[in-house]
Structures are given as structure tokens and as C-alpha cells.
């Protein structure tokens, strides 16, 4: 059962498509497997619809309708499926090189992205950089931490979003299991510890730098580029 969800402000920003790209893929990865948030997102899209309805109409060129009808006629003259070639034909997991445990599938929000293979980060800790085709600067990555292992204590200078894809961890505040979403900012200093029962895979997005405590942890942080 999913216990931790994005708040309405985050879901509204997803509905309005104003989230930074990295935050968008992590939040969308949550919504696609959470019926509650799916329903809320539809509601918040309806808020967008109501705001559109209330918007002051702009003055359009008098021939705008005629032009639009001409575009419709022109697009019907050509093939109706010619609009977005290749998008649906491509294998959605193409470019996602990090291997996954049996039975686990990639979030749909990562389709079109690229990941590196798992890289060593420390004992029992691996990571994979996620590169989003339409925002290469977005700091998105996967963490794969073995049972019982913990990440170094760290805090954030910006917003860190985490979606648990597999397994579970406890960060001293709460337990986060597959499907759970977490948002932390500079007020939180935490140390996620993976449960003894099995490994944990998370998708995370970081805005701003992550500040790790201790020298080795800082080295690790630099390695990840956080």
C-alpha cells in the first residue's frame, strides 16, 4: 500500500506542466502507479480547464478560423498518421541500460530517456545516471542499494524528489516502500537505510547540490556529481 504521496501543490504543477523536467519524471513515475494520485491529477487538470474557461478571451486575427480550417483540410489531404512518426514505434526501454530485478519494469515516465549501466558507488551501493533527452542538464539518477546498507547522511540545498521503485528503506523519519514518494528540501538532513529483507531501487531528482557529511561521503557525492 502506498503511504507517501506528492502534495496537491506538486500535483498541480504536474497538471500545469510547470515542473522542472527532472521533478516531472519522478512525480509522474509516482502517479502512474498510484490510483489516488491519478484521480487527484485528473481533478487538478480540471482546475486547469476551469481556469481556461475563466480566461479573458484574446483578440484573434479575423481570418484565424479560416486558417485553422485550411490547416485541417491540408492535414487530411496527407496521411493522418504522419504527425509524429516513430514515436510509438520505438521500443520504450531503448536506451535504458541499467538492468532491473526480475519482474520490475521501468516507469513509463522514463521512456525516451537514457540510463548508464549500474556504476559502483560504494560497498553495496550502485547508481545510474539518467539523461533526459529534452533536458540533458536535469540531475536525475537511480540508486540501487543492497539490503541493510545505508546512504551517507546528507542534506540538500534544493528540492530532492525520490520515488521508490523497488524494495524499501527507512530514513529515520518514516518508512518508504515501493510506490512511495518523498520530497525533501534544505530543512531535512537524513540517512536512508535499506531494509534487511532485500535491495532497494529509487528514482531521484535533485535540484541544487547535495551536502554529504564527512570526507568519504563528500567524495562519493562528487562522484555522483551531486
Amino acid at each position: 500500500m502506498i503511504r507517501h504521496h506528492p502534495d496537491d501543490a506538486m500535483l498541480a504543477a504536474l497538471a500545469a506542466a510547470t515542473l522542472p523536467r527532472g521533478q516531472e519524471v519522478v512525480t509522474a513515475a509516482h502517479v502512474e502507479r498510484c490510483a489516488r494520485c491519478g484521480a487527484r491529477l485528473r481533478e487538478l487538470e480540471a482546475v486547469g480547464g476551469a481556469l481556461l474557461e475563466d480566461a479573458e478571451p484574446a483578440l484573434l486575427a479575423p481570418e484565424a478560423l479560416a486558417r485553422t480550417l485550411a490547416r485541417i483540410d491540408a492535414s487530411r489531404a496527407t496521411s493522418p498518421t504522419a504527425c509524429r512518426p516513430g514515436v510509438t514505434a520505438r521500443d520504450p526501454s531503448e536506451g535504458l541500460q541499467a538492468s532491473l530485478p526480475d519482474g520490475m519494469t521501468w516507469p513509463r515516465s522514463l521512456h525516451g530517456a537514457a540510463t548508464t549501466r549500474w556504476r559502483w558507488l560504494g560497498p553495496g551501493m550502485r547508481w545510474s545516471r539518467v539523461t533526459l533527452a529534452d533536458d540533458r542538464a536535469a540531475n536525475v539518477f537511480l540508486l540501487r542499494i543492497a539490503a541493510g546498507k545505508s546512504l551517507p547522511v546528507h542534506s540538500h540545498r534544493g528540492i530532492e524528489l525520490t520515488q521508490v521503485l523497488y524494495g524499501a528503506f527507512h530514513d529515520g523519519r518514516e518508512r518508504f516502500a515501493a510506490g512511495d514518494f518523498d520530497e525533501t528540501d534544505d530543512t531535512v538532513r537524513h540517512q536512508p537505510v535499506v531494509e534487511a529483507g532485500g535491495e532497494c531501487i529509487c528514482l531521484a531528482s535533485v535540484e541544487g547540490r547535495v551536502a554529504f557529511d564527512g570526507r568519504i561521503a563528500r567524495v562519493l557525492g562528487a562522484l555522483v556529481g551531486m
Binding site: L51, A58, D134
Partner: protein
């Protein structure tokens, strides 16, 4: 102004009969509002008008996939315009990769709602409109900027004269208030 039910009927007329008169009514209603939405988001006026036209072309093309059980016409048009806006924005930012939000991907994966959900959807959208009208003006402005502004946080800080650091908590308060108004029984 056409009602939600009338807008649904117009979309159906476009879907089933390619009704140009019905389309013209939809165009007159939505194209100027979509242009406003896009212009407020920082799209230059000429591009906003072009994208508004593109939105209505998509309304024509996708009319058959409109599902009144899932969303009202305004919500459907909003999501089309939103996707075109973000699509254009990202294409301009990185020519490498044209597609952005999948137009129908989210919907396609959901099971189709039962026919009587159409009434529930109408009722939900009516409650949302009523709730928006009951929000205090400042929170209403926060919501408008959250949905329409190109940089919502900066715009809210500027328009409300509050520090950037407190914008997020103000958005949260506005969203919580809206949630209470949507969920509360109307008196």
C-alpha cells in the same frame, strides 16, 4: 456562453459528422482563451495565436477520442494546449528530441470509465468551478499564476510582493483551501 453539456455535444458533432458549424462554435469559444493562456505563459502573441490554432486542429483530429466520462471539454482542451505549449517549449530548448508529454499515453493506460461516470465528471467539474469562485482573490491569483505563468514561483513572489522562499507555502495553503472547498458539502 455554451454549457459543459453543449460543448460535449459540439465535440460529438465534430467527431461523428465532421460538423464545421459545430467546430466554428468550439473555435470561437476556445481559441481566444487558449491564446490568452499561452500568452500569459510567456509565449509571444503571434506564436500564441498559431499554437491556439494548432490546439483547435488537434481538437478536430482527436474529437473521436474525447471521452465525456473522463473530463469536461474545457479540461480536455486545456490538456491539449498544455501539451502543445510544453512540446514547443522543449523543442525550442533542445532540437534533438521533438516529443515531450505523450498526448494520450496517460489516458490510454487507464481502464475506460463506466458511462454513469459521465455525470460524476460533470458534477466534479461543476464543484471545481464553484470552489474556484469561492477562493479569496489572492489565492485565486496564486492558482492562476501557478497554472498559467511561465515561471509561477517568480510571478507569485512579484505579484504578491512576498519573498520567493515563502511562495511554496502560499501555494500549498491555496491548494489546501481549494481542496477543502471542493470536498466540502456546499451550503
Amino acid at each position: 456562453m455554451p454549457t459543459s453539456e453543449e460543448l460535449s455535444e459540439l465535440v460529438r458533432a465534430v467527431a461523428t459528422g465532421g460538423d464545421r458549424q459545430a467546430f466554428a462554435v468550439l473555435f470561437k469559444h476556445f481559441a481566444p482563451r487558449v491564446a490568452t493562456y499561452l500568452a500569459r505563459g510567456g509565449t509571444p502573441a503571434a506564436t500564441a495565436e498559431e499554437l491556439a490554432q494548432e490546439t483547435l486542429v488537434a481538437v478536430w483530429r482527436k474529437a473521436a477520442s474525447f471521452d465525456a466520462a473522463r473530463a469536461g471539454v474545457s479540461t480536455w482542451v486545456f490538456t491539449i494546449a498544455r501539451n502543445l505549449r510544453i512540446d514547443r517549449h522543449r523543442r525550442d530548448g533542445d532540437a534533438d528530441h521533438p516529443e515531450a508529454l505523450d498526448d494520450e499515453g496517460d489516458d490510454a493506460a487507464d481502464p475506460a470509465p463506466a458511462p454513469d461516470e459521465r455525470l460524476a465528471t460533470l458534477e466534479r467539474e461543476r464543484r471545481i468551478r464553484a470552489a474556484l469562485r469561492r477562493l479569496p482573490p489572492e489565492q485565486s491569483l496564486i492558482l492562476q499564476l501557478s497554472y498559467f505563468a511561465e515561471q509561477p514561483h517568480a510571478s507569485i513572489a512579484r505579484d504578491l510582493s512576498i519573498p520567493l522562499g515563502t511562495v511554496k507555502s502560499r501555494i500549498r495553503l491555496a491548494m489546501q483551501h481549494l481542496r477543502r472547498l471542493i470536498d466540502a458539502p456546499e451550503s
